[in-house]
Amino acid sequence: MSTHARVPVSGSSRPVAESFPHTDVRLSVEQVSYAYSANPTQAPLFTLEATSFQARPGEIVAIVGPNACGKSTLLKLIAGALAPLSGRVLLNGFITHTLPPRERGQRIAMVQQESPLLFPSRAWEFVLQGRHPYARTLRFETQDDVLIARNALAQVGAEHLTDRWMDQISGGEKQRVILARALTQQPLLLLLDEPTLHLDIGAQVDLLETLRKLAAANRYTVVVVTHELNLAGQYADQVALFQKGKCLRVGPPATVFQRELLEQVFQTQLTVELGSSGRPRVTVPSAK
């Protein structure tokens, strides 16, 4: 059984838009904005200005920008965890934040910076949790669930971790197990919030290679928030560049990674060169 074979879902929700202008589009972020204020009478502390982009199955979208530019907020809006102030996020025609939690869990998987576990659990227990959106109340895991979990662990190259305790494996290994759990949700949309944060460069490349393969094989639409401009440049099909809550540019890495634009956003001197593959490489010029 492959991880992208979807179990039929009986749900009450109906898509708000039956078809897109381009039928190929899976994720459509339409003029989404957001404002956060500590209390309703005060001016917002943080705003995300109207943002739009679209993504197809199998595509990787990277969201980049300096700290506190709204990247993670946008990811939460896409995930449906936050309701946008205006605009909407459509996933195959469904508005993500109005989906019931279970149905959202069957369509959208989120890989976050991990929070510590209160009580220890083994990797396989952790991965099987991804089947939760498909389980009825009190249902015990079926053989299918176990197969899906095994398959997911195999797809991220983590079979050897199956019986290990989650608090006794390295950061890179943990990230793989978390990714495997996301795969068992059999999502349409895979969201990752700074997945490379605590990884060494080898583990970072490994993770992105795995994502690239998974997106191609399982036709996931992947949205990843990252600080790693070069990883975004090498692996993403589209890059969205943010500064202070504003989406400055969306497009293929080569059109977004312009030297003047990046220097202005990140407030430092940079050089951008195009590699032989046509993908941009961003480097810091040698210190004076």
Binding site: I108, S115, L118
Partner: protein, 346 residues
């Protein structure tokens, strides 16, 4: 990979059920008046086969009218406290949470005492009057949980240390209120200060209160059990649980109300018995893992076993006099609590 199956759950529960039965038989035998094991088993058979009329009247009185009801009371109080403890640990995301430590039992005591004070002035029908104390205890418990929850947060997140401190301070504040009531209400037919602070299972219950306790336990524990799979994810973090299809608001409300109800029920019939709700879930976690689908039922059995044993000790250690059962659980529980606290901070 060995996911939990229904048959494994049943098997573990059957083993614990057998242990509980053995403990009950021993508890029936133990006491100030000696009863032979042979006589006891013979009498149990006679009762089981509908020949209760053949029992000697002395045995009937001691074993079946005094000890057995008290053991049943221990079973339901122990199970309630233990399930409530496991639920509060998950709800507050704190392994040291427990109805007693966090002052929830004290809150329930205050609610129950207030209900006892107000009730005679209302001229209620007896059936409603019997409900009055448990409802008061439930409200007291629910309000204390809410207070501790909001006091125990820092920058929107529950903070382990702050939560424990808030609970401990609430407990001592509420104990002072109990003391105030007890010292001002002399002459009334109220149970003593020791009952509400230490817990005690020696007072026989009115039959209706007994039924409220039993039915209430199954309803509330059943409600919590419907969220067992969600609680597993909630332990991994609310952010993550939300993305795995958990309706966090629903789970929180169900567990909050049901666990407060369990605490309120237990406290209204037995006072504030400590440490059962804290330690039994931890022991069960070590034995059976932290999956709530198996933790909650095993914790119920474990709580029942623990409290039957504790109450038997309370009855027999200084026989023919008696200790409050809460003193027994505290003597056994407090050192274990400190051990867990130290291990966690280490």
């Amino acid at each position: 990979m060995r996911p939990l199956t229904f048959s494994r759950l049943l098997m573990h529960c059957a083993v614990l059920g057998a242990i509980l039965f053995a403990v009950v038989v021993i508890a029936l035998k133990m006491g100030a008046v000696p009863v032979s094991l042979y006589g006891l088993v013979r009498d149990l058979f006679r009762v089981a086969f509908g020949q209760a009329s053949q029992l000697s009247s002395e045995h009937q009185l001691i074993v079946f009218n005094i000890r057995l009801p008290r053991i049943f009371l221990s079973i339901f109080v122990g199970a309630s406290l233990s399930v409530a403890g496991a639920s509060f640990q998950a709800l507050l995301r704190n392994p040291l949470a427990d109805p007693y430590v966090l002052g929830i039992s004290s809150g329930a005591s205050v609610g129950a005492i207030l209900a006892l004070i107000i009730e005679p002035h209302l001229a209620l029908a007896p059936a409603i009057a019997a409900l009055f104390t448990p409802v008061g205890a439930f409200l007291g418990a629910a309000m204390t949980v809410a207070a501790v929850y909001f006091l125990g947060r820092r920058e929107g997140e529950i903070d382990t240390t702050t939560l424990l401190l808030a609970g401990i301070i609430s407990a001592s504040f509420l104990s002072a209120i109990i003391q105030f009531f007890m010292s001002t209400l002399s002459g009334g037919n109220y149970r003593g200060f020791a009952f509400w602070i230490m817990g005690d299972l020696s007072t026989p219950l009115q039959p209706i209160l007994n039924w409220i306790l039993r039915v209430g336990f199954f309803v509330a524990a059943g409600a919590i059990y419907t969220t067992a799979a969600d609680l597993n994810l909630l332990l991994a973090g609310e952010k993550e649980a939300m993305h795995l299809g958990v309706d966090i608001r629903r789970v929180r409300i169900v567990v909050y109300i049901a666990a407060s109800l369990l605490t309120g029920l237990a406290v209204s019939v037995s006072g504030a018995i400590g440490y059962v709700g804290l330690l039994v879930p931890h022991v069960m976690r070590i034995l059976f893992g932290s999956d709530h689908r198996i933790l909650l039922p095993t914790a119920a059995f474990g709580g029942a076993i623990a409290l039957v044993i504790a109450d038997t000790l309370a009855r027999t250690v200084v026989s023919p006099s008696e200790l409050p059962v809460g003193a027994v659980t505290a003597v056994a529980g407090a050192p274990l609590f400190l051990y867990l606290l130290r291990r966690r901070l280490a």
